[in-house]
Amino acid sequence: MSLQVSFCQTFDNCAIDLDLNLANRGVTAVFGPSGVGKSTLLRVIAGLDEIDGAKVRFNAQVWQDKGRFLPAHERKLAMVFQQPSLFEHMSVEQNIYYARRFSTKPANSAFPVEDFIDTLQLRSLLKRAPQTLSGGEQQRVAIVRALAADPQLLLMDEPLASLDDSLKSEFMLTFEALLRQVPIPVIYVTHSKLEVARLCSQLVLLDNGRCIGQGATQQVLTDLSHPLALEEDAKSALHGKIIAHDKHHHITQIDTQAGIIWVSLVPSAINTTVNLVIKAKDVSVTLSKQTDSSILNILPAKIVDFRHAGKGKTILKIAVGETFLLGQITDKSFAHLALKKEQEMFVQVKSVALS
């Protein structure tokens, strides 16, 4: 599937020219700093903003071009906004099934709305009024409501931005499970690296309206030629399957592409697929395998590349198992250990955040 968007908005100096290749399903993050026109991008795709000269094409369908503007309600998409924006005069259930009121087609079995309701734990809230729900609950309703519209493309505009940080990690666990059930491409606009690493399989980096990087999330995140990898909070992503829980020590064992990793207890069943986010700061290296370290995860690895990121920090790109991790060490340690490309050593992964 492909999505082409280009527009130029003179008054706030934002121009975007994007040509995205989307997989049939899966989440594509559009990542960029605030103010690069990410929200405008979604509004143009959705047909909510009619900018002169804009072009939008989804697969073979021309949504906007010279002399043609398909109104929002005729585009086969749905959108989740930053604010849940539920219809206050309807119950949760009426909100969810709103789009079905106008649909002449029978419900699409590829969108098991009832299953989505269960995945996001909304079953007990169906009869409630939206105003009585918490922010996180409202956003969950908004997400299912969008999916119930039977869209071919789902747009999400920083859907977690309005949630408290404390709620986010819990939210993401259920959200992740839901996104795996969604049978269409999702475009996810955000400026949070954590959400990108955790929720999105593809990543498009925006800067000055141009796409400066595009590809599998893990590849783009660990590509040292992008400024993203050199930032203070650089992260890499891993996914794997839960293979064991050690309830006594409150930890979970996960089989990832990098090898077997222990993390703090994950409240999901064995064999569940989970995404892990590893901060570059939490990855350190040793030349010989430590046996007297407090760190549980020590894996054989090889330095692929490195960059000095300034302020005395060096970022290492390290091949571990079948994937890459970023590690952040000081320039001093880098010199002391006399690290170089292709060097074999061990990585120590201190803690792995599931959130």
Partner: protein, 226 residues
């Protein structure tokens, strides 16, 4: 007790208020929507014009209507040529006068109602596949409910209490143009205070009950669906 003539006056008043309110609701919905959403720089002129009946003495309004609508007047003359009967001293004339007289009481709650509806729910509905018409009846109208109720009740109650305009263009013809307020005035003129009390009291109770309905409805809507 209420006499048959009094009951007739009450019924006529009720009929006048109902017909006028219904006509006003239909006419005012698009105008109020335009007033709420338009960014035209001279919109304030229209707003001032629409609000005129609020401050104009009803007798002034009635006087101009009388002059315009009489068979020799501009409007009355034109209507006569297209075969419309004389509107002065008729029920139809009263309806026309009431519509002008109560216009701001219907338009303003509707305009406020439209203004308070954010664009976001409508955008969400559009992305969910609702056409403009479907958005209007599934989102705008329900959200406008408190405004619609206020507009209907205020328009209705205000028309019920009309006196000056009726006196000028309707006169005092039983069963045709004699409304309650005129009947009360008649009773007082002829010193039938008991009769006047009955009618005035009835009007008082009806007005209070109507306003009670508005406030109760607004309270319920503020509390939401549950």
């Amino acid at each position: 007790m209420l006499s048959q003539a009094d009951l007739n006056a009450l019924w006529l008043t009720f009929k006048l208020a109902t017909v006028s309110t219904l006509i006003l609701l239909v006419l005012c919905l698009p105008v109020a929507y335009w007033l709420a959403k338009s960014r035209w720089r001279f919109k304030f002129v229209v707003e001032a014009f629409v609000a005129m009946p609020l401050v104009l003495p009803p007798t002034v309004l009635g006087f101009y209507l009388l002059v315009l609508l009489s068979p020799n007047g501009i409007v009355g003359g034109m209507l006569a040529t297209v075969g419309v009967d004389n509107l002065v001293f008729s029920f139809s004339g009263l309806v026309l006068g009431s519509c002008i007289y109560s216009l701001p009481f219907v338009i303003q709650p509707l305009q406020n109602g439209f203004s308070s509806i954010q664009s976001r729910p409508l955008e969400v509905a559009a992305t969910l596949g609702a056409s403009p018409f479907q958005r209007f009846y599934s989102i705008t109208l329900p959200l406008l409910k408190p405004g619609l109720i206020s507009a209907s009740v205020l328009g209705f109650a205000h028309t019920m209490g009309e006196f000056g305009v009726v006196l000028m263009i309707g006169g005092n013809i039983p069963n045709e143009t004699q409304v309650v307020s005129i009947a009360i005035y008649d009773h007082v003129e002829s010193l039938q205070y008991a009769q006047a009390h009955w009618l005035a009291g009835t009007l008082l109770v009806i007005s209070f009950v109507l306003l009670l309905a508005v406030y109760a409805a607004n309270k319920r809507f503020r509390l939401g669906v549950q």
